[in-house]
């Protein structure tokens, strides 16, 4: 027994003292090789009686395992230290800049159009489109705006010298002709919004000759001004993501709706800026025009105004964007200034959804 203990302490001590991978290999040969003391002890087992072997074999085997484990552990430690030493020479300066990927963006007008599509989809409205180069029948006549109507002059229309099928061609002054195109091409009930580019010969700080509007149209049985009011309230609250939004309807006039109303939204002053919302508004801003579709418009589209009625509204998309996201110059929308696009634009993955909130 003393022999074994002596051998153990000697071998463990030289294992512990090994300070390189070469040294530990040498220890392994010395301690466990064919010429080692442990190999010699193993050989003695053959000459023992079964009883003696039963006692000695586990002891010798135990010694062998213990020494082998110690060597393996020492080897692993030395290997680890060697790796660490190597790695210590391999540092890089991670404060150096990594290659940057370009940052793309989605224009606020497109983003707001997606927001509108998302909100109105939940209310059952599809998205409709129509041509921007329109004829005067769709843009005016069918909308109950005859040629001599003062409202026609108010629209500052861009005209083309061209005629198509005897109709004057122009750039649509509003998205309302999509109402006509929808009602003449599909059967009621109808629920659509129609966002798009519109044009008026007007240019100052708050007007550009091209701008964006969204039209809404509902045609069904039994639709009233009350439905219009609810729809607008629901939409505006969803769009601005506030429940404390107050709307004010004002009787107004559009040739294609009767009764007609303009809609103001209450704002509160926050740090000198007008912020939409607040149960106790500091003032009102006009945001859209609306009304019950004029019976003559419904009839012009070949529908029976005694059976079908509904409402329509029109709203400036650029203005909606400005009110929600705080831009103050409409002209910058169309300049393509990268600094502005990055500042007010949206990331590709900012897809408006109802579950995440439509705003980004």
């Amino acid at each position: 027994m003393t022999d074994l203990n002596l051998i153990r302490s000697k071998l463990l001590s030289i294992t512990e003292a090994a300070d390189s991978l070469e040294a530990i290999e040498a220890v392994r040969v010395t301690a466990l090789g064919k010429a080692s003391e442990i190999a010699a002890l193993m050989k003695t087992l053959g000459g023992m009686s079964p009883e003696e072997r039963q006692v000695q074999a586990p002891l010798i085997q135990g010694l062998r395992t213990e020494v082998a484990d110690a060597i393996a552990a020492r080897k692993a430690a030395l290997e680890g230290a060697a790796l660490e030493a190597r790695l210590a020479t391999e540092t890089i300066d991670l404060t150096l800049p990594a290659a940057s990927a370009p940052q793309g963006s989605v224009h606020p007008v497109a983003q707001v159009m997606d927001e509108l599509a998302e909100i109105f989809a939940d209310l059952g409205f599809a998205v409709a489109t129509g041509p921007e180069i329109e004829d005067d029948w769709h843009n005016f006549t069918a909308l109950n705006i005859p040629e001599t109507h003062p409202a026609r002059a108010m629209h500052d229309t861009f005209y083309f010298p061209d005629e198509k099928d005897g109709k004057k061609m122009l750039l649509r002054t509003h998205t309302s002709p999509v109402q006509i195109r929808t009602m003449t091409s599909q059967e009621p009930p109808i629920r659509i919004i129609a966002p798009g580019r519109t044009y008026r010969s007007d240019s100052d700080a708050t007007h550009t000759p091209m701008f964006h509007q969204v039209e809404g149209l509902v045609i069904d049985r039994g639709i009233t001004l009350g439905h219009l009011k609810w729809t607008l309230e629901t939409f505006v609250k969803a769009y601005f993501e506030r429940d404390d939004i107050v709307l004010r309807l004002r009787p107004s006039y559009f040739p294609f709706t009767e009764p007609s109303a303009e809609v103001d939204v209450g704002y509160t002053l926050v740090d000198g800026r007008r912020v939409v919302g607040g149960a106790e508004p500091d003032g009102w801003m006009e945001i859209l025009g609306s009304g019950m579709v004029h019976p003559r418009v419904i009839a012009a589209c070949g529908l029976d105004p005694d059976e079908w009625q509904g409402f329509a509204f029109g709203c400036g998309i650029d203005r909606l964007a400005m009110l929600k996201y705080g831009m103050d110059d409409l002209r910058a929308f169309f300049d393509g200034d990268l600094r502005w696009l990055r500042h007010y634009g949206f990331a590709a993955l900012d897809v408006p959804t109802l579950s995440a909130g439509v705003g980004a």
């Binding site: 497109a110 005209y159 009011k229 309230e233 006039y253 300049d335 993955l349």
Partner: protein
């Protein structure tokens, strides 16, 4: 439309205060655009007396005044007005007071070394008139220290309301009063129509020869008038609403127009020759209008003329020649009805707007001609004296009674607002409608805009209060919302976000470009007849001009790397085509410690964008062919189209021709492309189930081949040939190297291709692989390639 509170109260008996009136105006649809309360604006100015006036020691034209402001010690004020003198009572502004006519706030200041503690004001400085010859002189007994505005009666608020085009009746104060009375703000006062007894037959023949354009022409002469400045009450009212008083006779016509929405015109009888007739203008006639401009007339235009000449563009503007002056003794008052459609056409044609036109084209009250003439005559006699002739009533105004049958239930059916029939009847009565027991509604003559039951509902709702309409939820379909986007809309959304994800910034540029810019792109199919400027004239035939111009602006602002895209329409002769355009300019990547120099964009970047966008749109990018570009705006050797079959062009891209860049004044290379979204074939709807996942059992192997081909041979030809050499085994062929130089004969290039082979049931044997390689080489040889040794 502006009016003052006291003017409104001429017609409305009310206890309501200003704020209440303002709220009610907006509620009934007469939107208040502004209120000006002179009492607030001029409230700080006091009546003061000049005690002494001494020469300024340093300036001949200045005086140093001692002013008694009614409180405390007299103040020293430096004043340049020639009429400043001891004893004068005038209007004083103390330091801290805002002077509207000067747009300054007064401060204590030294003027040429003498301290001045305020200012004695002129009329112009208070914006009360243009008078600026001297400071205001008040009667000697004016109360020193009192508020000047209050003392002068300048406390009448001016209200400005927006009148919608349907409400001609509210282009006169009385109409506004009627709406307010109906809304419960008081009683509409009865209108006193004077009875005028003609003292003599009208000496001028008045008639209408144009019953279509001017169905009725009423008028009379008042002789022996004395024209001069209007009395103060009239001048002040006109001034308050921004009208310049001219002379009593002219001011009367304006006053009646703003009071009743009834335009009138007055002629100096001495300038007339023969009968005064409403007729169509003759070709070649012209008239010098009161605005000093001459207008060429034509037979579609209704004029008022005498035997000698045209005097008046009927219903729009009078002429210089027959206008009244201070010397006028006999005046003819015209009160006519002009047909709205004709006025609108004439006004549009001549580009001439006036207060009269805006009323006539909306349709004045055809039943108010005689009354309007009587009111005007009485005012002329009251203010200018004279003797009235009999009235002449030529023609017939369109007085046909208009009635409609109304169902009171429609109010709730259309507006969602329950209003009792009695209340509906009361509202209509207050607005001047007459309703019989069976609900036949007689529309008032002044409400030309009302012609259907929906209009009646609007009247009831706006007076009852549109805010009372209850919010009513739209019926909702069961379950969650259904998808609504069309395939085209989905494509647009996907390509937008794909482009943004790839680092491109979305711009929105004008749909119209200049003729020159469109010309570079082959010209536009649509040119505006009335562009707002030459820069915005032609509907764009391509998205690139707008994007190139935006890229240039960014480059001029110092942007080093520009990636812009836009989704919008190209306006072609046959259709508006949805398109995604992009422009890349400057550096793809900046210089860096890793890569060294900055790398410029090249045509391959455009190819990558075009393919990525097409892939996002669901186009079959594997099957696209790269073919030559068609547009000459591109560099002929560095551009291409991506086509599905030889005819369907899905995209065009490349380096722009240097001439294109030069046309936009851009330095350096521009890379661009357009993806034609409407050319992408729609994906067939195939449900949501994918095919079963069946990965091959064995691993694919790769083999590399290098071929020599003629230098001008498209690499894609070789790749396609190789790919097609063994359709069963070859699943991919990828070109990974292009080499010319040492070892490659002149006029040729070496193309290296990695071919991926997918074994089926069994691994390839050496013999299999040799056979496939032989087929690859054979296919390549067919197109003129030789395997490199």
């Amino acid at each position: 439309m502006k009016f003052t509170l006291s003017w409104l109260k001429d017609h409305l008996d009310t206890q309501a205060g200003l704020d209440e009136i303002l709220v009610a105006l907006t509620q009934v649809g007469l939107e208040v655009e502004g209120v000006e309360d002179p009492a607030a604006r001029l409230g700080a100015f006091r009546i003061a007396r000049v005690l002494t006036a001494e020469r300024h020691p340093q300036a001949d034209k200045l005086q140093v005044l001692s002013v008694d402001t009614g409180e405390g010690e007299p103040l020293q004020v430096v004043c340049g007005a020639p009429n400043a003198r001891a004893g004068l009572v005038g209007v004083f502004g103390a330091p801290g007071t805002y002077v509207p006519g000067l747009d300054v706030t007064l401060k204590i200041a030294a003027i040429r070394g003498v301290e001045s503690r305020g200012m004695m004001c002129s009329m112009r400085e208070l914006e009360l008139s243009d008078a600026h010859e001297g400071i205001i002189e008040l009667p000697a007994d004016a109360p020193v220290g009192a508020s000047y505005a209050e003392w002068a009666g300048l406390t009448d608020p001016v209200i400005d309301v927006a009148i919608t085009p349907n409400r001609q009746d509210c282009m006169g104060v009385r109409g506004i009063a009627r709406d307010l009375a109906a809304a419960g703000l008081g009683e509409l006062k009865p209108l006193d129509i004077p009875t005028i007894r003609g003292a003599f037959p009208c000496p001028v023949e008045i008639r209408t020869d144009d019953p279509e354009g001017c169905p009725a022409f009423f008028g009379r002469v008042v002789r022996g008038v004395k024209n001069g400045p209007s009395p103060e009450w009239l001048a002040n009212r006109l001034k308050a609403i921004g009208q310049r008083p001219i002379s009593a006779l002219v001011d009367i016509t304006n006053y009646v127009m703003f009071d009743h929405g009834r335009p009138l015109h007055v002629y100096d009888v001495a300038t007339l020759k023969g009968a005064l007739v409403a007729r169509r203008a003759k070709a070649g006639e012209s008239v010098l209008a009161l605005n000093g401009k001459s207008y060429a007339l034509d037979p579609e235009i209704t004029v008022i003329a005498d035997d000698a000449q045209v005097h008046d563009i009927g219903g729009i503007m009078g002429g210089e020649h027959s206008g009244v002056t201070e010397a006028t003794t006999d005046v003819l008052i015209e009160c006519a009805y002009f047909t709205p459609e004709n006025i609108a056409r004439t006004g549009q044609k001549l580009g001439l707007t006036s207060d009269a036109r805006s009323r006539f084209e909306r349709g004045v009250d055809p039943a108010f001609l005689g009354d309007g003439l009587a009111i005007a005559t009485r005012l002329v006699q009251d203010l200018c004296g004279g003797e009235a002739s009999d009235a002449v009533e030529a023609g017939e105004p369109p007085l046909a009674l208009r009635t409609l049958k109304f169902d009171t239930g429609l109010t709730e059916r259309l507006a969602g607002l329950a209003v009792s029939p009695d209340r509906q009847r009361a509202i209509l009565a207050a607005l001047g409608f007459k309703v019989d027991a069976g609900w036949t509604v007689l529309i008032p003559s002044w409400r030309r805009d009302v012609d259907g039951p929906a209009d009646i509902v609007e009247e009831i709702v706006r007076i009852e209060g549109i805010d009372k309409v209850p919010s009513t939820p739209l019926p909702r379909v069961d379950g969650v919302a259904r998808p609504t986007a069309t395939p085209a809309q989905l494509v647009e959304r996907k390509v937008r976000r794909a482009a943004a994800a790839r680092g491109l910034n979305e711009a929105v540029t004008w749909s119209f470009v200049s003729e020159a810019e469109a010309g570079v792109f082959g010209g536009g199919a649509w040119t505006l007849a009335n562009p707002i400027s030459e820069e915005l004239k032609v509907m764009r035939p391509s998205l690139l001009p707008g994007l190139i111009a935006a890229a240039k602006r960014n480059a001029d602002r110092g942007a080093a790397s520009i990636r812009l895209f836009e989704i919008g329409r190209r306006y072609l002769a046959d259709a508006e085509r949805p398109t995604l355009g992009f422009v890349l300019a400057g550096d793809r990547a900046p210089r860096s410690w890793q890569a060294g120099r900055a790398q410029a964009f090249d045509a391959y970047d455009a190819k990558a964008e075009a393919l990525a966008i097409l892939a996002a749109a669901g186009a079959p990018v594997d099957r696209l062919q790269v073919m030559e570009a068609v547009s000459p705006v591109y560099h002929p050797g560095r551009s291409a189209t991506l086509r599905l079959g030889p005819k369907t062009v899905l995209a065009e891209f490349g380096e722009l021709h240097p001439g294109t860049a030069r046309a936009f004044d851009v330095e350096g290379t521009l890379i661009a492309g357009e993806v034609y979204l409407d050319a992408i074939p729609a994906k067939r709807a195939s449900g949501h189930m994918r095919t079963a996942f069946a990965p091959p059992a064995l691993q694919p192997v790769t083999r590399d081949f290098a071929f020599l081909v003629p230098a001008d041979r498209a690499a894609d030809d070789l790749v396609r040939a190789v790919k097609g050499a063994d359709k069963a085994a070859i699943v991919d062929a990828r070109l990974f190297d292009v080499f010319t130089g040492a070892g490659v004969p002149e006029g040729q290039k070496s193309l290296a291709i990695e071919v991926t082979l997918q074994p089926g049931e069994k691994s390839f044997t050496d013999a299999d692989l040799q056979a496939i390689a032989a087929r690859v080489v054979a296919a390549a040889t067919k197109i003129g390639a030789t395997l490199r040794a």
